[in-house]
């Protein structure tokens, strides 16, 4: 497992990561969420040995990246979004072969692995085409295969689906889920919260380098204080219906076009609709929206850490 204790990273006077305690176990996908500049990439680069923390400790499967960087590098890999991370003049296969040499993957193992990885990311047919002729998505898929070339125990994913089209991003999510099932420890940052919700068993939320909250996506939603929203659409918004709805709860919002909206804890849908019907309103539609992780993240970022803790 990867573990950080009181992790802190300063760039000059800027503190990018404050006192972060993080655990990334094997066999599941752990999420790291936060708005732009929250410190996600910085944290990932520290785990990847590309940055060195200012203070605090890091352990990667029992190894210390500061004292045993090479041993750590063999066991991890990092995949970042964007198509830049491969050599344009080499073919897809050559790129993977090249990185296989840097990682000292034995030739016997490397050859079938390269073929397998090209297949996995759907580049088998383009394997012998130079990367400069690849589309952006193809180059990025190659970069994902590159991140698996050393068969790492821990995979650090920094917005891996950035700029991928929907079907490809879905395939990548399947690959990531399968890797975790096979026992790898995955740390994922992403701005696509649906992706995080779907993949991550445990999520950390950071803001300005500080720990804001953690838990399963459902727990985070609960912790964030976001509630489900009930929307009742009425055929005609009479003054009587409006008055009854406002009397039901002061927090009711009435949108033009006759939609009565209420967010709150507990199950208010039934009571609200009966109130409207009793006031003579005719229902056109009823919608109950559960709060999403996105609502939770926004809410969590709106308040200081102390309130959440």
């Amino acid at each position: 497992m990867i573990e950080t204790v009181h992790l802190r990273k300063e760039f000059g006077t800027k503190v990018a990561v404050h006192d972060l305690n993080l655990t990334v176990p094997l066999g599941r996908v752990t999420g790291l969420l936060g708005l732009n500049g929250a410190g996600k990439t910085t944290t990932i680069k520290i785990l990847a040995t590309l940055l060195r923390q200012t203070s605090g400790t890091v352990s990667v499967g029992g190894l210390d990246p500061v004292r045993q960087p090479r041993a750590v590098r063999r066991r991890i890999n990092l995949i970042a979004g964007g198509e830049r991370m491969v050599y344009a003049r080499m073919t897809g296969r050559e790129n993977l072969w090249y990185f296989g040499q840097l990682y000292d993957v034995p030739g016997r193992v490397l050859r079938p692995r390269v073929a397998e990885l090209l297949d996995l990311v759907g580049l088998a047919e383009a394997a012998d085409t130079r990367v400069e002729r690849y589309s952006r998505g193809m180059a990025q898929r190659l970069s994902i295969a590159r991140g698996l070339v050393n068969d790492p125990d821990y995979l650090l994913l920094d917005e891996p689906t950035l700029g991928l089209d929907a079907p490809i991003a879905r395939d990548l999510r399947r690959v990531v889920a399968a890797l975790a099932e096979r026992g790898k420890g995955v740390l994922l940052t992403s701005h696509y919260l649906a992706e995080v919700e779907q993949l991550c068993a445990h999520v950390y939320v950071i803001g300005d380098g500080r720990h804001l909250a953690e838990g399963t996506p459902a727990e985070l939603v609960a912790q964030s204080g976001c509630h489900r929203t009930v929307r009742v659409a009425v055929v005609e918004l009479t003054p009587r219906v409006e008055a009854a709805a406002r009397a039901f709860a002061p927090a009711v919002r009435i949108a033009p076009g006759g939609v009565v909206e209420l967010s709150g804890p507990g199950d208010v849908a039934g009571a609200l609709t009966s109130t409207i019907i009793e006031a003579g309103g005719a229902l056109k539609g009823l919608e109950i929206a559960e709060p999403t992780l996105e609502d939770a993240i926004l809410a969590l970022n709106d308040r200081p850490a102390a309130v959440i803790a």
């Binding site: 990847a48 590098r73 050599y87 050559e94 040499q101 590159r146």
Partner: protein
């Protein structure tokens, strides 16, 4: 060792794709060095008619020996300048993000920079080197003590050049002023290392500057062995100086890599561009 050999193969492929990525490569590999050689030859040939030249620079009195002198200079320059070019290309890896990937891997950093230079060197110079050897054989201008001196000549070019390439790579990885170094090492290196004029013709300050360039020492050995028929014993001093300079270059490369990587891990500058 095995891992190092694999890194050499990997870098050789990468450099092959880079160098031979365009068909115009024969220009830089052969036509360009030949043109500059012709230019220096026809510029300097009138010297032969200068009264008293035989005392001041005996070689210039004989056009064939002058051509051989300039050809060895061009050969040495091709070796060393191909490494300036490959180091310059190395800095592009910062933009493409692959530089960070090299540092993400467990590969030994010194091996990577040496392998990178070696790969570029071998693929850039073989054509002109073959041409030069053919020319020397054809015109029969070489005066060598024994055949083994060809190996000495080859090593005296290769080893310092690779050490020089490793140092340039190490410095440029962590610096953003690559273009400046490129300019600094082009024409001035021609001049200060005695590529087309003997160093004794240069002013003292320039000779001093040239003495820290390994190309200068390489050319002394190459010319001593090929043009003056000097043996290993006679060149011992020059060879030892060249070996020491190569070792210093390599050690400086190691230090630059250590300091540079430590600094990059502190400031995150590998990822910035």
């Amino acid at each position: 060792m095995r891992h190092a050999a694999r890194i050499f193969r990997a870098e050789a492929l990468k450099q092959h794709r880079r160098v031979f990525g365009s068909k115009l490569v024969v220009f830089s590999m052969l036509i360009w060095p030949l043109l500059t050689l012709a230019q220096s030859y026809y510029t300097l040939r009138p010297l032969a008619a200068t009264p008293g030249i035989a005392e001041r620079w005996p070689l210039a009195a004989d056009p064939e020996r002058l051509l051989a002198f300039l050809a060895t200079g061009a050969l040495g320059f091709t070796f060393f300048f191909s490494l300036v070019q490959s180091a310059w290309h190395f800095t592009f890896e910062r933009q493409t993000g692959t530089l960070e990937l090299l540092f993400l891997s467990p590969a030994n950093r010194l091996v990577v920079v040496v392998a990178n230079g070696f790969g570029a060197l071998v693929q850039n110079v073989w054509l002109f080197a073959c041409f030069a050897v053919a020319g020397f054989t054809l015109f029969d201008v070489a005066r060598v003590a024994h055949l083994g001196m060809y190996a000495v000549v080859f090593l005296a070019l290769l080893v310092p050049a690779v050490a020089w390439g490793a140092l340039l790579n190490s410095l440029l990885i962590f610096s953003r002023d690559a273009a400046f170094l490129y300019t600094l090492l082009d024409d001035p290196m021609w001049f200060a290392a005695g590529v087309r004029l003997p160093t004794f013709a240069l002013p003292g300050w320039l000779r001093a500057a040239g003495s820290v360039l390994p190309l200068t020492g390489s050319l002394v050995v190459v010319r001593g062995a090929l043009l003056d028929g000097r043996g290993v014993g006679e060149l011992a001093g020059e060879l030892a100086a060249l070996a020491v300079l190569s070792a210093v270059l390599l050690l400086t490369a190691v230090a630059a890599l250590r300091l540079g990587e430590a600094r990059a891990r502190r400031t995150g500058q590998l990822g910035l561009f």
